[in-house]
Symmetry: C2
Subunit: 487 residues, 2 copies
């Protein structure tokens, strides 16, 4: 385990080994990302072919660099990359991001190369991200480091995102950008010859800039340590895991003895569930979950009120709530009476409360304030209709106002349309989660409910009522067989 990731994640000076003025070259893209992201530390390109690159003086070798470089990003040929690692070690640069591919992912020669890299890491006590990775991003306003060739520099936020895969990391960062989800830290682990997800988890446990952690993993670098860390972190910060790799090829390697654990996926489920992680199974689900968790308001129970100006969508939301195990209880008579004082006679005073298409800003605000009193959370469906008594922004304002007043009850908004950007933006400014589809809004609420349960289970001092033995057997078998992953 790495002791300290400060030099890696908040470096004062960064060198790019293999920087280049050529468009499309990876080292060149990284240098331009570092220059363009607002990083205000020192930047040193290293490439003997050039005197200057992008207006910065270029150094011929790592040995020629000034002292005090905290981080070196290596984007050079596989045949020379180990020499560069050793040079960096000699120079006292202890944090490296190795972009270069051609290690254990590419056959026997690559595996030998990775073994040599591991020895160098040990010899020089290096913090290494990679090899075969896309790099790291620290979006914290105080740092603003984009040491990657990602096309996306996510805006600052409170989600830390650790990805084993580069291309999927990029895809998911694009989704983050699409929905305005902010990131505090992005790291693509690549082959994990040095730092693993566990090192980042240990760092993030006490990182106050991070409110939730998302990991995309294909295997666990060290399952025991992973579980120990997640158990500790999850009750305070939700840990969302997208775990891929449940193919037959993977299953064949599992040494499991009971029928119910024959599928490695069931083992992963048990393992993650016991750790307190929230498992998601698709990328869309991931985005839905993180948008909800970003706000951090968890429901205290399972009772939901649904407010709508579109009947069909209310029914769909109610269906989805029941499917997810949440209650959509009838309103009490008092609330009904109060609502009937201002809603039109055509309004439906069940749950969903169908305020019909004529509902204006005051209807939304008053109804939501009244109805949320008796439940634990609200789903508010607001589709700006063809003819509306108030401007859509006024309605959005009212919803956001109530949401910010009831700080202990999640309010989740659904617009039924992707084309209502101003409404979405207004609601988002209060960090109220907003989705196009009613089912997705309910999925989001289900994730918040799961996060609350993790918190309760741990805070209450109760043991999780699952049988840890089968999972332990699998982990022990993996360790016994010298595997670095669980399967």
């Amino acid at each position: 385990m790495a002791e300290d990731l400060t030099g890696l994640l908040s470096p004062g000076a960064v060198a790019v080994i293999g920087a280049s003025p050529r468009p499309g070259s990876v080292g060149g893209e990284i240098l331009r990302n570092l220059k363009g992201c607002g990083f205000d530390g020192d930047l040193y390109p290293v490439n003997p072919k050039y005197d200057t690159i992008d207006g910065l003086p270029s150094f011929p070798t790592i040995g020629d660099l000034p002292d005090g470089v905290d981080l070196a990003v290596l984007a050079i040929n596989r045949d020379v990359v180990l020499d560069a690692v050793a040079e960096a070690g000699e120079k006292g640069i202890s944090n490296l991001v190795i972009i270069t591919a051609g290690f254990k992912e590419s056959g026997e020669e690559g595996a030998r190369r990775e073994e040599r890299l591991r020895r160098l890491i040990e010899e020089y006590k290096l913090n290494v991200v990679g090899p075969n990775c896309m790099g790291i991003i620290n979006s914290s306003p105080a740092v603003r480091l984009n040491a990657s060739f990602s096309r996306w520099f996510p805006h600052g936020g409170q989600i830390a995102f650790i990805s084993q895969s580069g291309s999927l990391g990029e895809t998911i960062l694009e989704c983050f950008a699409d929905v305005g989800l902010g990131v505090s830290l992005f790291a693509n682990l690549g082959n994990r010859a040095g730092l693993t997800e566990n090192d980042f988890l240990a760092h993030l446990a006490s990182d106050e800039g991070c409110r939730a952690i998302f990991l995309y993993l294909e295997s666990f670098a060290e399952p025991r340590e992973f579980r120990r860390l997640v158990e500790r972190i999850a009750p305070r910060k939700p840990v969302v895991v997208l775990k891929a790799g449940r193919t037959k090829a993977g299953a064949a390697a599992v040494a499991s003895h009971t029928g119910s654990l024959a599928s490695p996926d069931a083992v992963v489920d048990a393992f993650l569930g016991q750790s307190g992680a929230i498992r998601v199974t698709t990328i869309e689900e991931t985005i839905t979950a993180l948008r909800a968790l970003e706000r951090g308001v968890l429901p205290k129970g399972d009772r939901v009120v649904i407010l709508t100006n579109a009947g069909g969508a209310g029914i769909i939301a109610a269906d989805a709530c029941e499917r997810a195990g949440m209650e959509v209880p009838p309103l009490d008579d008092e609330t009904k009476g109060l609502l009937s004082e201002f809603l039109p006679p055509e309004a439906g005073l069940g749950n969903p409360i169908d305020m019909i298409a004529t509902a204006g800003a005051a209807d939304y605000e008053r109804s939501l304030k009244l109805a949320i009193g008796g439940v634990d959370a609200a789903i508010v469906i607001f589709r700006p209709p063809l003819v509306l008594p108030d401007p859509p922004l006024a309605v959005a304002d009212g919803i956001a106002r109530v949401a910010s007043e009831v700080a202990d009850k999640p309010v989740i908004v659904c617009t039924l349309s992707r084309e209502v950007t101003p409404v979405v933006e207004r609601i988002r400014t209060e960090r109220v989660p907003v989705y196009a589809m009613p089912e997705t809004a309910v999925d989001a609420l289900a994730v918040l409910r799961r996060a609350r349960r993790v918190r309760e289970e741990r805070e209450g001092g109760r043991e999780i009522r699952v049988n840890p033995d089968p999972a332990r057997r699998v982990i022990d078998a993996a360790l016994g067989a010298g595997r670095s992953g669980l399967f």
Copy 2:
């Protein structure tokens, strides 16, 4: 059951009762939609307050209209709408779309109004869509009729979309527009005082412009008839159903006697499954399914090959295939040998075939052609990477070429990004389904597989091996209780 919907769906002359020059008025929007959609029949606004509306001479009353009006769209006050219906009947206009709300959805007085409407429908033998609906759209190039106040006029296509809900219909039409899904016919049924989904199903059974049918329903107007129709249609044209309304309120009304049928949702599942419909549960799932079905190529079996230039996404797709009950079999040695002749040594020759980020147009085309030989379908993941040997469009061309050559095996593409519009467009021109996310691509394939099974079950003359008795009990109970819906 209506005998003939030709006058309704392909009218020569349309009158808009309640047309208006006022922006934002529903009757005005409908007239402008009819004018703007390319409809080249005669248009007659009816409104005594104006001499002309939008450049068209306005008629003071329905009685003043010229003869030969095939369709009248009514967007007038609830208090005068029944008189207008009777006038239309007297005038011999037998097809009506009644937009006006304030019928059975709005209390006792509305219910009485709807009863009187039903009597007028019978008396004058009218084909009525609505009341309380958004209207109808016929996108067929020969007709181009937008008799609705929808903001979306979908481009011509081969999906017929019948929606009980107006607002959800609009939401789903927007999704259609987002993904370039074409529509042949859209009808919002509203309160179904006259025509129901069954009338449209009967019409669509022999409509050659329609390749697949999608219904959004909250209840069944006539379950026996629905099942008879879907049983007949589904083996030739997939019938996709999004059925909402499974709340406790609905469940309480179900007279079911066995535990497994305690949930009305299970009954709907059984009922739809027996009919041969493909049930979807979310709007996103609907769009995914229809995009796949639009092309109409169904797999003959469950074996899938996955081709990718991004390893992580390949694993996610393989996981999703296995979760959906499809096989991702290893390649045979011959195929492996042929692939190894041109793919780089770093490529993974398992299944998924990981061609790595350097894969170009020829790699995609040759690999897909080779690999699809041994399976029933292919998922092709192509994320245009930072540095690519060929222009992304060349790769898209190659994939589309193979997809059009293997006309009996579905090829589904996944781009891992929403920001690759030219690639998506190129692939779509060959009507190859293309999705951003790997899980969605697999969901799409699973729908095609389901459609194939419906076809096989019916074509093989085999009876469906389910027990129809419990479903019949529920239907009989509904009929016995005089309900118009199943629950």
